[in-house]
């Protein structure tokens, strides 16, 4: 729901008040108080960034809660954050690398640098895990928070965003495991590793966009709860997570580039392992991610007003 707060522009009393000073009370300075108008909105609704800024600590608390709660009452606790990616890599290395034989089909420049298949695979899993969590975890996040939606007002956009935030924490742990693995193999990262933060940002934007879109769809149409896992695993098979994709035919290559994750996953391998950069694919991914993010946000804002009635 959108708020119009005209008096905030004159003097923002809530947003930048030093935390220790008590709230200025209404009667003494009535002009200082924010003013909201509540009414029915139709069509697209603008995002109130001022309000998001005001509530920014809530985003942190939501992500913090997700991280805290995830490994409660497990014997291994936070060790799961390390075990999960390691197990994933082992399984995929065995299945795709050895059984399916993709290990021998790595791009030439990687073979020249003696990059093992497991590192190649891991570099693809890193962005994929973040993206997949955004789709499935983010997609069901609103539905799982029904109680909050019907009982209290806060920027709803933060619920799916926090899922991506918590997934970023896992990604940081995965990255450290990745670098340890690299050191074990004696592989020196390429200097382009400095672009990783930008690529993470791009992946997080893609994950958020999908989380916005699917969370609002799932609240309205519960079918997506069942559709999402299939969609994500199909998507994974269409993305070069476990296998190298370097088809000879130009038109297949262009077809694959339609998948925004194609450019992203390849860019991770380029930045971390020195695979050649596929700039057209990356440019296409960036454009698509921007589209996904904007559409996701605006679809979310458009349907937001129904959430409390549907949840």
């Amino acid at each position: 729901m959108n708020l119009t707060a005209p008096s905030m522009q004159a003097e923002p009393p809530l947003i930048d008040r030093p935390p220790d000073s008590p709230a200025p009370l209404a009667p003494s300075e009535p002009t200082d108080t924010p003013e909201f108008e509540i009414r029915a909105h139709r069509g697209w609704v603008a995002i109130d960034f001022q309000e998001l800024m005001h509530y920014r600590e809530l985003l942190y608390f939501f992500a913090w809660r997700d991280v805290k709660v995830r490994y409660k009452q497990t014997m291994l606790g936070a060790a799961w954050a390390i075990i999960q990616p390691v197990l994933n890599v082992i399984i995929q290395t065995v299945i795709f690398g050895t059984v399916a034989g993709f290990a021998s089909k790595l791009p030439a420049e990687l073979r020249a640098r003696h990059i093992p298949y497991s590192l190649f695979n891991y570099a693809g899993i890193l962005p994929w895990m973040l993206f997949a969590t955004g789709c499935t975890g983010g997609g069901t996040s609103l539905m799982n928070q029904q109680n909050l939606l019907t009982k209290i007002y806060f920027p709803r956009l933060f619920v799916p965003t926090a899922v991506v935030g918590a997934a970023l924490v896992d990604m940081a742990i995965s990255f450290s495991v990745f670098f340890v693995l690299m050191a074990c193999y004696g592989v020196v990262p390429s200097w382009t590793v400095i672009f990783i933060p930008l690529l993470v940002l791009l992946t997080a934007m893609a994950a958020s966009g999908m989380a916005y879109l699917f969370s609002s769809l799932t609240v309205t149409y519960r079918d997506f709860r069942f559709l999402l896992p299939f969609m994500v695993s199909t998507w994974q098979f269409c993305s070069p997570v476990g296998y190298p994709l370097d088809p000879r035919r130009q038109w297949i290559r262009w077809l694959l580039r339609v998948n925004p994750m194609y450019g992203i996953i390849n860019a991770y391998r380029s930045a971390l392992l020195g695979q050649h950069w596929d700039f057209p694919a990356l440019a296409m991914s960036i454009a698509e991610v921007a589209g996904i993010l904007l559409f996701g946000m605006y679809y979310f804002k458009k349907t937001e007003r129904r959430f409390a009635d549907l949840a």
């Binding site: 935390p19 909201f36 009982k151």
Partner: protein, 414 residues
Amino acid sequence: MTPAITIDGISKCYQLGLRAEKYLTLRDTIMAAIKAPLRRMAGLAGRGPEQGQFWALKDVSFDVKRGEVIGIIGRNGAGKSTLLKILSRITEPTEGRARLRGRVSSLLEVGTGFHPELTGRENIYLNGAILGMRKAEIDRKFDEIVAFAETEQFLDTPVKRYSSGMHVRLAFAVAAHLEPEILIIDEVLAVGDQEFQKKCLGRIQQIAEGDGRTVLFVSHNMNSVNRLCDRAVYLRNGRLVSIGPTADVVTEYMNSAMETQEVDLLARPRFRGLAPSIAGFTCSPARNAQHVASGAPVVFRLDLNVTEPIRNASVTVMFSNDQGYRILGISSRCEGELSTLAIGKQSVCCEVEKLPLAAGRYIVDLEIFSGSKVADYIQHATVIDVQFGDYFGNGRTLFSFEGSVLTRSRWTFQ
């Protein structure tokens, strides 16, 4: 001075099917898209598309002055909660608009957003942030919150191990330390033990008396509405019936409750989570008495249609006067009569030897407990007219301003 809240023609319409099914499925939407042209044709043919719509609120307008405590009263299903949800920006009105001037906090439920796996300390921060507090603000008030909740020694225990009483205390404590300019509260006092309820009410009063806080307060408890509110709003079937000084509006509400509506008590809306089991209530003169009168024997009979067995059941019949004050309660629990109510139709009879009520009209509320948990509750089940009767055996009685509950007493003048 500009009012703190201006409500102008607020209406809220629910699609009936949509609400009942709770959510849409893709199939429904596809089917609706196919059926839409057909339905439009039906609409043109005279069968309006208005079918299946339910107006939870219709054209409600009023102003709330800055610093005013305003009570919203009405029966279950009158639209009170919908109004609060709209004012707290949880849902949008279908029509109309409202302006709120000031920082708004709403408390529609105690403990929203508590996570059972997190500790008490962690939940204070999480819940505080959800309610709109800054971390620095929570840091500052942390000790105060913990002291209010009386849960110091369990701060590092996961909330799922808390007793329900502790849970509620902690949740209310966080909410009670908000510093909003406009506070919107719904029924939160209906929880917790007696002692804590008193503390909560005291805290709300304190907030209300604080400098110029505006409070909107929904309650079924006329005692607290009378005590806390300057003015009251009476809603019925989504429409505003009256607004004015609390005493007048409460009297009007209680009087209109006397124009008994549905006799079928099973059909009455209940509080959420209660399975209706009280089907009927009669109050009749017993034995050789002609009518229900002060001092005469009387029989109360509850007809039940129990759908889930109720263990340790006790029944309470409560009487309120036209000011909404509850003045007399008669409970089987006090007589040590607890029994298990099996599924099916049955009835409970209660005989009172001498009705200790002075002549007048009383509103009867009925409640079935299972242990100390409410199993069913009906407000304003019926109204009884108590005739003048010879309670004291000497033709005398109290003046109406002296009270309405009669009892024998012995006096010595020295």
